[in-house]
Subunit: 207 residues, 2 copies
């Protein structure tokens, strides 16, 4: 008997180091699959079809929405972004855990549909650290950076929609924390019920 996998959603303000954590997490946990989003925005030079995103045109995306093929979707700057339903449900059914790295609006939609989805909000250890991370990776004006930081601080409000909060003090610790959360969620009574039923069913004399 295969227990269904867990649907894991990871979000977090910019400057949290989310993508590094997600990358290591997928490397380290062998029962975890990363869902690749679909988008209508054009691919950047370094991006590969099916790695960063599935790139589809506007008409096709709207057809998929209409046919219920998107688990969640949102529109930013005139482009659609969303999670294709098929792979996610296939993997979960096979007992794999599935990770979505999506924004808070998408996360809320997932939770509405699947109450057993596990929502994790990743935050920086301090705003100074978030600032340092943003400075380290971008060549943008001081004004843009301050704007990003102000948005990141606002985004902390969204933590309230999440089940768990993980502080990205170090990538390793954050990955370890998410691993613990995932393990704990698998040990919840609801998921373990079939195992207990099996234990009770075995006749006492089965030797």
């Amino acid at each position: 008997m295969i227990n269904e996998g867990k649907l894991l959603v990871v979000s977090g303000p910019s400057g949290t180091g989310k993508s590094t954590v997600v990358k290591l997490l997928v490397e380290k946990l062998d029962r975890l699959c990363l869902s690749v989003s679909a988008t209508t925005r054009p691919p950047r030079e370094s991006e590969l079809e099916g790695r960063e995103y599935y790139f589809v045109d506007h008409t096709e995306f709207e057809r998929r929405i209409a046919c219920g093929e998107m688990l969640e979707y949102a529109s930013y700057n005139g482009n659609y972004y969303g999670t294709p339903r098929d792979k996610v449900e296939e993997w979960l059914g096979q007992g794999f855990d599935v990770l979505l790295e999506i924004e808070v609006q998408g996360a809320k939609k997932i939770k509405d549909q699947r109450a057993d989805a596990v929502l994790i909000f990743l935050i920086p250890p301090s705003m100074e650290e978030a600032e340092a991370r943003l400075r380290g990776r971008r060549s943008e004006s001081e004004e843009t950076l301050q704007k990003r930081l102000a948005i990141a601080r606002q985004e902390l409000e969204q933590a309230q929609y999440y089940d768990y909060i993980v502080v990205n003090e170090t990538v390793e610790q954050a990955v370890e924390d998410i691993r613990s959360i995932l393990r704990a969620e698998h040990l919840r009574y609801a998921g373990m019920k079939p195992f207990i039923a099996g234990l009770k069913a075995v006749p006492n004399s089965a030797e």
Copy 2:
């Protein structure tokens, strides 16, 4: 700022190897304190005051109940058993996690009083394994052993009152699972709220 510790309750049918798991757990987790129960039953030869139990007389136990000094208590075979409130609350307040190894009736009373208590039900990997463990440690008649096993199987019903189910396949794995549960519970949004508030409060220019 100290976050309050977690109150952890571990129960399980006989033959599960509960006490071995609890012993290793307390050894391995340095922020975890083991609560010692009070009882009115007389001490056995090998038992020490304050190690296995606090031994008190009937009148004193009933005084403690009347004064609200017991977090939970129950009566078995004419003797009281219960959890003294003072130490548990002191440790939790200091940020230590506190472990209670108690029966299902006590566990339910704890959960009624403290919804944030974490209830873990430890079960054997199979009834054959439970039987082997009971055989290994006791010199009792086949009839008594079969009676114990029948009770253990009935006790599996009680799993429904618990938050998490841990299978004691090996002691190390069970301890690791409980550690994961404890870590996850510490990362729940409710407990992390003060940290997030702190992040938001720091002025952006704090360098």
